[in-house]
Amino acid sequence: MSFRITCPVCGARSSTEFRYGGEVPENWREVWRRDNPEGPCRERWYHEFGCRRWLTLVRDTRTDEILSYE
């Protein structure tokens, strides 16, 4: 099931409007490193159906609850 993501430009939308960009790497040289945590995960989402901009958020991978936005 989808969940809601609040885009800072467009407002709350279904996660299906976004392209998943994966975990935010510690540095860009190690982008292949994925911790895949069970719990809070800092990750990137791209609002493909709206403003076409990226946002960074922390999602609980167990519940899909968005814990915070940056």
Binding site: V9, C10, R13, S14, F49, G50, C51
Partner: protein, 123 residues
């Protein structure tokens, strides 16, 4: 309601401050802090040496009332339309822009490559 019509617009990509300072009478949709879509041919010169200003033929437009826009989004979207201003999101699986003016008019903009899908999916 009528089908969307291909239109031409003016697209301005510039620093947010330059776009904030831009004065125009044109119908304007701020797609993102650094991205402005103006309906029609508009001569604008944002205060940004790296600004991109160009004609944008990528849109089709349909005029409607704000009430019709709300009904359309309720039937084909999973978000709600603000009382005024711009809204962007998926409508019947298509990426659309809405501009609601407080007087009760609304514009629906659909990317031109999806025009035929919009006609089929948004009666």
């Amino acid at each position: 309601m009528s089908a969307p019509e291909p239109i031409f617009c003016t697209r301005v990509v510039a620093s947010p401050a330059a776009l904030d300072a831009l004065a125009t009478d044109a119908v304007a949709l701020r797609l993102a802090p650094d991205d402005l879509l103006l309906v029609g041919a508009v001569d604008v010169r944002p205060d940004d040496p790296d600004a991109i200003v160009c004609r944008d033929d990528g849109w089709a437009l349909r005029r409607m009332t704000a009430a019709e826009a709300s009904a359309l989004v309720a039937d084909h979207g999973d978000w709600s339309v603000p009382p005024a201003g711009i809204a962007q999101g998926a409508l019947a699986g298509l990426p659309v822009k809405l501009l609601i003016d407080p007087a009760g008019d609304a514009l629906l903009l659909v990317p031109r490559p999806y025009l035929a899908d919009a006609v089929e999916r948004l009666p």
